[in-house]
Assembly symmetry: C2
Homo-oligomer: 460 residues x 2
């Protein structure tokens, strides 16, 4: 039985298992869901044991647990791959905007709807299906490469303990290639491989003014208003060209090469269609860059949330005592998150007017951007495997999102390869997240071929 | 028995009645408290009937009810006064910042703590005590002037139906003087009389972007962010001199005269002390004006609340689908609220970037500013009465806050006189609102003398 047939015959079992896992609300950003993150880790260990991994472990961290599993190749000379994914998920608010319960996954035709379906449980799980499919096809009882699976539990919270975990287990994670399955493809009918991701660091900024909310009749117009100061501070983050004004912010940015800009420009990008995916009616951003460049290779400052003063029904004419904002910065190769954090601290301090005090708390150390060499052996092998699975040429893209990938590449000293089948319209951080089940199956098929090709490349 | 003695002897009964009334959470801005506003109106009618008013009525409006009561003078030639106050109160959030329950009034020495103690139930209630005190002193069975009391139930919601109510009952409210008891004095030991109030109009501004929250990794930097646009729009409301940039906003402002500026400058204003009252550490505002001018005679734009995107615990790296702000504009004589509303609509439209849509909803028609002629008979009589009650000279001030006073003066075609005893540190729109009971008693004494003086001025 070939891998494709095995996968088709095991589709229903695969979806049933994924639905079980998706039912666990493993929201790492919500303290009241931390027990669920632990539960999600336990579910995964049971699944991996059932799959046949001889070694399955929960790796505790200073925060939430990761899952590690290892299945050695029969041939000790075969290469070793580390597969990275995560089992925590995004929060679900506004929960009223979901058509279905976020943690009661529902199949609608070929789609599976639920938080984590695409980001990232679905993409982690296709690996076990792919591994079994490859072994069913070859009749072997061990994989053609040594497979190490590392599934973290804090990715949606900025992976605060992940680098430490990698360093602690560096020896056990020794590998030749790191395969990342936490990204998207160009389109369902245009498979592609990501060769770079932006980094990220995010913070909460608070401005404190009067000790209590003041009556705006008695005091308005004569004391600084924290919300006004916050609006000024945030408005000043960008200049008229959409460039970020934080001093030093661009100092270490590695500008994209003319060759890379040309490669990006060659992609069959339909801006109108992209806007539909974004459910938006206009583009906006840094002057001088295309939409794809803006989301892939340019750093950003994005206000993710803002609040302060009276936000309930009716009027309350106050000068509020405080204002708050959550701001995330997407980073590109060259930028060090800790340097950016220092620069943002200095910016906020410089933009806090007399009479107000400021606080800036970063959610963690942040993550660096990363990029792969498209001419490397690993990228070429993965591209071939995906091309065989999808039956068509595989293009190169980048991702605007962030993961701990840069840390993995640095600490494990191995090249990154992205094998992932999410789509940009999967609504991965929004209500009604979904995944296309046929693409998950293609993901499984791709890795079945990839392990085979990598195994053969060594033994020949 | 003179009025002062009568008031002292009836202090406890007065405070007990006020505590009863304060226990009713008559928050007009909160729909779930509208039944309490009705209950508050009924409580007041019972109290007025017990006081001796021969006519006591609840006046329904398109919204929440007002209370009207009338007690004719024995002498049909005596002047008629309308006393204005309100029986609705401000919301109480953040409720966790209250040291005591907002609607379980507590006496601490001479202070009474509870929502509405100063604004405005305490100041409405001193009138019934004053009326009885005056009649006890003279031995009369009717007041020396015809007293009409009008206590509305929507003042803290912008008095949306009050002008209509005044017009409907214009004949029954016919009067020679309107006495307003909803403001503050300079200080407990520096009694003063307000001769002007700012007007107000307030709105909620919403900016809508993508139909759903977007993942800032996939879309951030390439679509307009409603929170960023809101920050830009609100930041742009003021120029570097603290002047409001809404085109046309200052067109109709009647600038304060040099004489008035000099009068204001003569007040014993201690800015450090004022900042303590504001629990703030720095002043701010329109360049070229003093703090008292900024709060009394200059218009403002104040952000009362702002929200959008992820405001809960942890990180959520999104481009939010919408942003919201509540903004109130304090107005000065000359400015028409409806004209300001049009100007603000145009400003928001002009500052909404492509790809976003804007909504501006004003809470109601707004209220105009008002000012009294300090040389009028009514102001002089009230000043004399207060001077007698307090035993010291009474100064003139203004109020930065807003009420429906301009409507009253216009519609009833009568001069306004402010007789009020609140203090700026009463925290009237904040947690832990309080009132100084001895000042309420002085208020009662003042109106006892005022009715007497106004009654005698006619018959002589």
């Amino acid at each position: 039985m070939d891998a494709r047939t095995y996968i088709a015959e095991n589709r229903d079992e695969f979806v049933a298992a994924l639905k079980e896992w998706l039912a666990i609300p493993s929201i790492s950003a919500a303290p009241d869901h931390h027990a669920d993150v632990h539960r999600s880790a336990r579910w995964l260990t049971e699944h991996l044991t059932a799959t046949g991994f001889p070694t399955v472990e929960i790796w505790e961290t200073g925060g939430l647990p990761a899952v590690f599993a290892e299945w050695p190749a029969a041939d000790p000379q075969a290469p070793t791959v580390v597969i990275y994914g995560h089992h925590d998920v995004q929060p679900v608010d506004p929960v009223e905007a979901w058509r279905t319960e976020p943690f009661a996954p529902v199949e609608e035709g070929d789609r599976l709807i639920g938080r984590g379906a695409s980001d990232d449980k679905g993409q982690v799980l296709f690996h076990t299906l792919g591994l079994r499919a490859g072994m069913a096809a070859s009749g072997a009882t061990a994989p053609p490469v040594t497979v190490k699976l590392l599934v973290e539990g804090e990715e949606e919270s900025g992976s605060p303990h992940f680098a430490e975990l990698l360093r602690k287990h560096r020896d056990r994670l020794a590998c030749d290639i790191v395969v990342i399955s936490d990204t998207t493809m160009w389109a369902a009918d245009t498979p592609s491989m990501c060769v770079g991701m932006r980094g990220m660091t995010d913070c909460e900024i608070s401005l404190h003014g009067p000790e209590v909310d003041l009556h705006s009749g008695s005091f308005g117009g004569a004391v600084p208003n924290p919300l006004q100061a916050m609006a000024d501070l945030l408005s000043g983050l960008h200049d008229a060209d959409g460039r970020i004004t934080v001093p030093g912010f661009y100092d270490d940015v590695v500008e994209i090469s003319a060759e890379e800009r040309e490669l990006i420009a060659r992609l069959p990008f339909d801006e109108a269609e992209w806007l539909r995916t974004a459910s938006s009616t206009a583009t906006a951003g840094e002057a001088g860059y295309s939409t794809l460049e803006r989301i892939w290779v340019r750093p950003t400052a994005e206000i993710n949330g803002m609040w302060g003063g009276h936000t309930g029904a009716g009027s309350k004419t106050i000068v509020p005592r405080s204002a708050h904002a959550k701001v995330s910065f997407r980073l590109v190769p060259g930028q060090e998150p800790l340097r950016v954090q220092e620069d943002v601290h200095a910016y906020v301090e410089a933009h806090t007017p007399p009479g107000l005090s400021a606080e800036v708390r970063f959610a963690g150390p942040g993550v660096r951007a990363c990029a792969s060499d498209i001419h490397s052996t690993a990228v070429r092998a993965a591209r071939n495997a995906m091309s065989t699975a999808f039956g068509t040429e595989v293009l190169f893209t980048r991702e605007g999102g962030s993961g701990p990938e840069a840390d993995i590449a640095d600490i494990l000293d191995a090249p990154l390869v992205f094998v992932a089948v999410g789509l940009d319209d999967d609504r991965i951080h929004a209500p009604n997240e979904k995944v296309e089940v046929p693409l998950l199956l293609k993901g499984a098929e791709s890795v079945a071929y990839l392990w085979d090709e990598l195994g053969r490349s060594t033994t020949t």
